[in-house]
C-alpha cells in the first residue's frame, strides 16, 4: 500500500493548519461597506406606518365630527332661553325664516329629514288664522318647536332668526327640494402620485424570498384622469384611466459593456437572470452579466470560460433596473365620511391593470444601457385598493384632492412556476376635480 501520498498530504495539512500571514496594507480599505437589506422588518414597518396614517386620519375625522355635534348641543340651552326671552319681550307674531344658506346644496339627508319633521311639527302646533297669528293657547311653546335638543342640534341653529308662519315654512321645504335637484352628480378629476412599490412572497415560497432579499423597490409614479358619478349624498362610483410606471433594482448582478466583440452567438439571449418578478432575458449582445454572490445568472459564458476583467470590458454597474408600465382601469367606491369645507372619503375598490411595456437596463456615469426584457410577467393583473380621500372645495365646482392609497395585487405578478410574488404599493395621489 502506497502511503507516501497520504503522508505528504498529512505533512501539508498539519503544517499549514495554523499558518497566519498578515494581509497587505490597504486590503481592508478596498473592501466596500456592506449594508444588509432587512426586507422583513422593513416591510412590517412600512405596513405599520401606512395603517397608522389611515387610522390617524380616521380618528381626526371622527373627533372633528364629534366636536361639531357637541358644540351644537351646547348651543341648545342658550337658544331656548333666547327664544323665551324674545317671546316675552315681543308679543308680535313670531316669524320663522331661513337665512339665505350658502351651503344649501350640501344639506345632508339626515338634516333634511329633521327639518321636514320640524316643519311638520310646527304645522301641527301652529294652526295660524288669516292674520297669521297663532291660536291663543297655553299649550304652545316655542321651545317645544325647537326641542328635543338632540334632534334640533342638526339644524343650523344660527339660521333660525324669526318665525313667519306657514308661507316661509313652505318656502323652506321647496328650498330643500330644489337644492337636492341642483347638486351636480358628475365630476372629472386628474390625479398623480409618486408610488412606493414593493412586493412580498407568498408564505412557503423560499425561492421568491431568497430572490427578493437582493431586490429593492425604487420610487415609481402613477397618474391619469378619472370620472365619478354620485349615487347618493354619501356614495359615489369612480373610474378612469391611469398610467403607472413601477420597477425594482436587482442588486448583485454586475454588468459590463463591450462584450459584442467576444460574442459569437446569434439571436439567442446570452444571459438569463432569475428575479422574483420573472426571468430577465438579455437582447443586447454588447452586455455581459455576472453574479458574483449567487447563481442567478444562467449563461454559457461562465466564470471558467470568460473573465470580463481580463477581457477589459467596461464595467457599468453592480445592479440591474427592471421597469414595468401599466395601463390601469380602476373601479372605486367612495363613501363620504364628512361633508364640510374639507370632505373626507373612504375609498376602496379594484383596478384592472394591463402590462404595456417592460424593460431592463443598467446605468453608469456614461448613461443608460438597455439590457433586455423580463419574461414571465402576467400581462393582466388585478389589484385591490384602500385609501382615505381628502377633498378641499375651492368652490362649488372645483376641489383639490389628496388621497393616500394602499394597493395590493390579488394575482401573482409573474406566471413563472415556483414564484408567487404579490406586489403592493403605496402612493399619495393629489390633483384637482371638477363637478358638473
Amino acid at each position: 500500500m502506497d502511503t507516501s501520498g497520504a503522508n505528504i498530504d498529512l505533512l501539508f495539512r498539519n503544517g499549514l493548519k495554523d499558518l497566519e500571514v498578515l494581509p497587505p496594507i490597504g486590503a481592508w480599505a478596498n473592501i466596500r461597506p456592506v449594508i444588509r437589506k432587512k426586507a422583513g422588518p422593513f416591510l412590517f414597518l412600512r405596513s405599520a406606518a401606512m395603517i397608522a396614517v389611515l387610522l390617524s386620519l380616521s380618528v381626526i375625522v371622527y373627533r372633528y365630527n364629534r366636536e361639531l355635534q357637541v358644540s351644537a348641543e351646547n348651543l341648545m340651552p342658550a337658544m331656548n332661553e333666547l327664544s323665551e326671552q324674545m317671546l316675552a319681550s315681543n308679543p308680535a307674531p313670531p316669524v320663522l325664516a331661513f337665512r339665505e344658506n350658502r351651503r344649501r346644496e350640501t344639506v345632508p339627508r339626515r338634516e333634511q329629514a329633521v327639518i321636514n319633521e320640524t316643519v311638520q311639527l310646527a304645522e301641527n302646533i301652529i294652526s295660524t288664522d288669516e292674520t297669521g297669528f297663532p291660536p291663543a293657547t297655553d299649550n304652545f311653546s316655542y321651545s317645544e318647536l325647537i326641542s328635543p335638543p338632540g334632534r334640533v342640534s342638526a339644524l343650523y341653529m344660527t339660521d333660525i332668526i324669526r318665525f313667519s308662519g306657514t308661507k316661509e315654512i313652505n318656502d323652506a321645504e321647496s328650498y330643500v327640494d330644489n337644492g337636492k335637484e341642483r347638486s351636480p352628480r358628475w365630476s372629472l378629476s386628474a390625479l398623480a402620485s409618486p408610488i412606493y412599490y414593493n412586493g412580498f412572497a407568498a408564505s412557503g415560497d423560499d425561492l421568491s424570498q431568497q430572490l427578493m432579499a437582493s431586490e429593492q423597490a425604487r420610487v415609481s409614479y402613477s397618474g391619469g384622469v378619472g370620472f365619478a358619478y354620485k349615487l347618493s349624498k354619501k356614495l359615489s362610483i369612480q373610474s378612469g384611466i391611469y398610467y403607472a410606471s413601477v420597477g425594482q433594482e436587482v442588486a448583485g448582478i454586475s454588468s459590463y459593456a463591450g462584450f459584442q466583440r467576444y460574442d459569437y452567438t446569434k439571436g439567442d439571449a446570452n444571459f438569463r437572470v432569475l428575479t422574483s418578478s420573472g426571468t430577465i432575458y438579455t437582447n443586447n449582445s454588447d452586455v455581459f452579466l455576472i453574479d458574483r454572490s449567487a447563481d442567478r445568472v444562467l449563461t454559457a459564458y461562465t466564470n471558467d470560460v470568460f473573465d470580463p476583467v481580463k477581457s477589459e470590458l467596461d464595467y457599468m454597474n453592480s445592479s440591474l433596473q427592471q421597469s414595468f408600465s401599466y395601463i390601469e382601469m380602476p373601479v372605486i367606491i367612495r363613501y363620504k365620511l364628512l361633508n364640510r369645507v374639507i370632505d373626507f372619503n373612504l375609498i376602496g375598490g379594484l383596478s384592472y391593470n394591463l402590462l404595456v411595456n417592460n424593460s431592463v437596463y443598467t446605468t453608469s456615469d456614461a448613461g443608460r444601457l438597455a439590457v433586455g426584457k423580463t419574461e414571465g410577467l402576467n400581462p393582466f393583473t388585478i389589484s385591490s385598493s384602500l385609501g382615505m380621500g381628502m377633498e378641499y372645495n375651492f368652490s362649488d365646482k372645483i376641489s383639490f384632492n389628496l388621497e393616500p392609497t394602499f394597493r395590493y395585487y390579488l394575482n401573482p405578478f409573474t406566471n413563472v412556476p415556483g414564484l408567487r410574488t404579490h406586489p403592493y404599493s403605496f402612493g399619495i395621489f393629489s390633483g384637482l376635480s371638477y363637478r358638473f
Binding site: 502511503t3 507516501s4 501520498g5 503522508n7 505528504i8 498530504d9 505533512l11 501539508f12 495539512r13 503544517g15 499549514l16 495554523d18 499558518l19 497566519e20 500571514v21 498578515l22 494581509p23 497587505p24 486590503a27 481592508w28 478596498n30 473592501i31 466596500r32 461597506p33 456592506v34 449594508i35 444588509r36 448583485g252 458574483r292 454572490s293 461562465t302 466564470n303 471558467d304 470560460v305 470568460f306 473573465d307 481580463k310
Partner: protein
C-alpha cells in the same frame, strides 16, 4: 474586547466598525488560505477582499451551527475556486502536462525542519490545476468526484493531477530537507 456574537450582530446591522473588527481578527488566517490557493500575491489579495464582502453579505445565513471560522474558510475557498474557474482558460496546458513525472522517492519521515511558511511556498509553486486539486483533496478533504464537478474536469484527471502534485511536492520537500541536511552536516 467585544465577543464574536456582538461583532456578528454589529456586522449584520451594517456597522462598519464591527466589520473591520471581524476583518482584523480573522484576516491573517484567511489570507494564508488565500495565498495557499493563489499563484501570486495580487490574486490572493483579490480573493481575500471578495471573500470578506461575501462573508458580510451572507452573515445573515450563518446559523451559529459549527465553527464560525470554518464557515468563513469555506467562503474563502469558494471564492478562490470561482477565481480559478474564471481564469482557468488562461492557464496553459503545457504548464501541466509536459512536466516530468516524479521519480518515486520514498517518503522521509524526518521532514521536521520544514516551517509552515516553507510549505506554503512549495505549494504555491505548483501549477494552478495541480495546486487546486491538491488543496481540495488533501487539505479540504473533498473527493475526486466532488472536485471533478467543482472545477469541471473528469475524475480521472483529478486523480492524475493529484498524483502529479504529490510527486512534485515530495520531490521539492526531499530537495529542501536534503539541502538542510547538507547544511547541518557541513557539506
Amino acid at each position: 474586547m467585544p465577543d464574536l456574537k456582538n461583532i456578528i450582530k454589529g456586522c449584520l446591522a451594517g456597522n462598519r466598525r464591527d466589520q473591520e473588527l471581524l476583518y482584523r481578527r480573522h484576516a491573517s488566517r484567511l489570507y494564508a488560505i488565500c495565498l495557499q490557493y493563489s499563484g501570486n500575491d495580487e490574486e490572493a489579495r483579490d480573493v481575500l477582499q471578495e471573500g470578506f464582502i461575501k462573508i458580510f453579505e451572507n452573515l445573515v445565513h450563518y446559523k451559529n451551527e459549527g465553527s464560525f471560522e470554518g464557515w468563513m474558510r469555506r467562503i474563502i475557498v469558494n471564492t478562490a475556486l470561482e477565481k480559478f474557474r474564471s481564469r482557468n482558460h488562461l492557464y496553459r496546458v503545457d504548464d501541466i502536462d509536459l512536466l516530468p513525472e516524479s521519480e518515486s522517492e520514498p517518503y522521509n519521515e524526518h521532514y521536521t525542519g520544514l516551517e509552515a511558511i516553507d510549505l506554503l511556498e512549495i505549494i504555491r509553486d505548483l501549477p494552478p490545476k495541480y495546486r487546486m486539486v491538491f488543496n481540495l483533496f488533501a487539505i479540504e478533504g473533498y473527493s475526486h468526484k466532488e472536485i471533478s464537478k467543482m472545477i469541471n474536469i473528469s475524475e480521472g484527471t483529478s486523480k492524475s493531477n493529484l498524483s502529479r502534485a504529490r510527486a512534485i511536492l515530495q520531490r521539492k520537500v526531499n530537495l529542501f530537507t536534503g539541502i538542510q541536511k547538507q547544511i547541518v552536516n557541513g557539506y
